[in-house]
Amino acid sequence: MNDTVMPRALTPESFESDQEIRWCPGCGDYAIVKGVRKALAEIGTQPDQVVFVSGIGCASRFPYYMATYGFHTIHGRAPAIASGVKLANPALDVWVVGGDGDMLSIGGNHTMHAIRRNIDLNILLFNNEIYGLTKGQYSPTSRVGTRSPSTPMGSIDYPVNALLYALGAGAHFIARTVDTLQKHVPEVLKRAHAHKGASFVEIIQNCIVYNDGAFDHFTAKDVASERQLLLEHGKPLRFGKKLDKGLRFDPKAMRLEVVQVGEGGVPESELVVHDETNLSLASMLAALEPPTFPIALGVIYCNPAESYDHAFTGQLEAARAKAPKADINALLRKGHTWNIGTPR
């Protein structure tokens, strides 16, 4: 589809555009853009082969800051537009970026269907639990009781858990990371990219202006290791500064529980071992919430299946193989025709 390009050695800077960044000083988005550039450099696709599609919101300004192709579209529709981009030009490496309002409020349906179809898009949700760009109204991920310009008495709707929503939509890949985890972000993104099909990544992002500190209870330095469960496939679910805590499954209650591991606690063998391909486990991990539980970070679910774009291209190729000339004259003359004066 595209011309071949001279391979060049890629660095994060290779992905830096000439546009000045216009986020608020201290916004978590700065860290994310860094992480994405790093991931892309390590993935090694030339910037010319990459497209970033976004909706509207602070997060959605993202494409301007990448030296790739970029399309800043309309609020909530990025997954649908990106679907068109990928299906029309499957060789491209297509990334979708949006905020919690963009992808879960107005755009929730397109997010669901892109995931359900399993189109090979890397979907990055920057979740700051607030509407940044429109100055601080509560969002569908805001916690109950959030006071905002539109909810001065506190919000009353239950927040949606982005990852559970994605699983409910039939996701084959979900992961979670945090803006400030500068090593973790690129690792998770590389996994998302490697997954063929829709990869849905929630990136916890601090909005310093309208929701500062919303995630401090699990991101603050002093609590982070006690409240973050870093997942690794095939490894037991351990966390804590000294890795002295773990998650065990209580089959009676059908629930995960936090246990002390090692000395004075249970042996590691009693812990649940992370299995990225297990849907039930994925649901339970995605649902964990601090402070009772640690928050699950990393690849929670990865269970590949044929991607939509692959099947789509397959059908097109099969059909084209049958009509290799795409002959319009033949098309128009298919079915019953007659010659005036000489019926056949």
């Binding site: 011309d3 509207i56 529709r77 981009v85 397109h110």
Partner: protein, 621 residues
Amino acid sequence: MSGSAAHQIDPAERPEIDSVVVRFAGDSGDGIQLTGSRFTETVAIAGNDLETFPDFPAEIRAPVGTTYGVSAFQINFGSRTIMTSGDAPDVLVALNPAALKTNVGDLKPGGLVIVDTGTFIDKNFEKAGYPANPLEDGSLSRFQVFPIDISKQTLEAVKDSGVSKRDGLRAKNFWTLGLIDWMYDRDLAPTIKWIEAKFTKEPEVGKANVSALKAGHAYGETAEMPAGVRGVTIRPAEHAPGLYRTITGADSLAYGLIAGAQLAGLDLFFASYPITPASAVLHTLAGLKGYNVATFQAEDEIAAAAAAIGASYAGALGITSSSGPGMALKTEAIGLAIGVELPLVVLDTQRAGPSTGMPTKTEQSDLYLAVYGRNADAPVVVLSARSPSDAFDTAIEAIRIATKFMTPVILLSDTYIASAAEPWLIPDFGTYRPFPVKFRTEPEGFHPFLRDKDTLARPWVKPGTPGMAHRVGGLEKNFNSGHISYDPINHQRMTDVRKAKIDGVAKDIPAQAVDQGDSKGKVAVVGWGSTYGPISRAVGNLRREGKAVSHIHLRHLWPLPRNLGELLKGFDQVIVPEMNTGQLITMLRNQYLVPAEGLNKVMGRPFTISEIEAAIRSKLG
């Protein structure tokens, strides 16, 4: 429309008539549409000109025998040029009382009604809402009624084919077709061939259908016909020589889009969400993936428009298609395509509204939405197709303009055009001039919003092209660099250039021609879209009487053709027939300050020729 003579002549031989309008009507389960399309083919092969119009019930499959379950199919055919599917039927075939009830009102006075008396039983009278047997209460005295127990005749005919009684009875549409074939002296062979091909897997059913067909025909030839019912001859029409087929508007649009994409050298990406009556185009294209067509059934109309825009961004030709409510939903996305200046074709098969309205009925009331219906100053190109065959060329024109000017183009069709069928002299695609798109690949001096001097179009770059990576978006853009800009002067400049670009399309389209009549005169009748047929025939009739009437029919609705204002000033009166409450008319009035007058019909069905004729006549005084 002189066909009312069909059954009023000397029974000794097959007299000749010009044209006739036949309507088949029955329960949705009676196979009426099939009968209609089979008969159409027979008529077409015999060289008549024709136009058909299927009238589906709104319900998928309403209870048998009810009025809202009635399906109908009308065909107007003849030895002269046929412009519409006919004002009023000369012949009505009613396979049950409900079909009679809902259709007989349209029949011409003195017209022929053929009824299947086998269904004229109390239970069906009740379902149809008849207090008594209408065949016996004198209510049909204005018509010529021909009662036949078609059910019984059919069962008789199929009894040796080894099908169940139920399946046998289903062949009664073919029995009816056989009778009508006899009346108009049509060859049974193409229908028999079709049946045999269709029922290879159920040969008994095929056999039963053939037997019924033959029996209906034989019945005409042998049975004693009531006075006035008899075979007639309709000679072939004077068609230009060449290869013909019948075509519906939906298929014509689909083929035109494929052809246009090929002329542009692009892959076609068609994204749509099902909606009546637009879905037909999706269905046709979905079966033609071999022609570099990708089809995508999106989750809704917004996503369909969005995916098409994404495809255009990616370097394919994005097309999206819908009807009324779905068009309304695409409004915001079309604004994005205008803002980022990408080609996009938006197909609107108009239906009767407002809101859900009458989804299966025709109307041409989305013109305002197409021309004016977006937030802010957001001009686009709007075209309309006038007939099924015209849709082919209009689709090509839409793609030509969209790609040349990097703009969305809205193409208006309607329920009537989409489902009507007419014979079509198949064009030689080799005679169409290609208009290949040149993607920009040269990084030197590239700015995404730097424009072509003539067309004011910006360059189109396929993502993946080395050295050309750039960003576009819906925020206002700097006139040159395309970077986000809040500069006041720049916004004025960009607003002006977006307008100038679309206005400039007028230089690239043909000057408006007069379809019939002189370019000056007493009355100009200005139409657009599917009113073409009835206006054309009405004006023709009046001109034959020597009236100074002209017919102007617009394909390009925005921008309007550059000479249109001058043209209209040459007439004392301008009449604008529209199937809406007056939309084109306000555009003509505001653009040219001409005191145009409207002729408006909003009944979910096309104008009749006589309605238009009468209106013009009254203006002529």
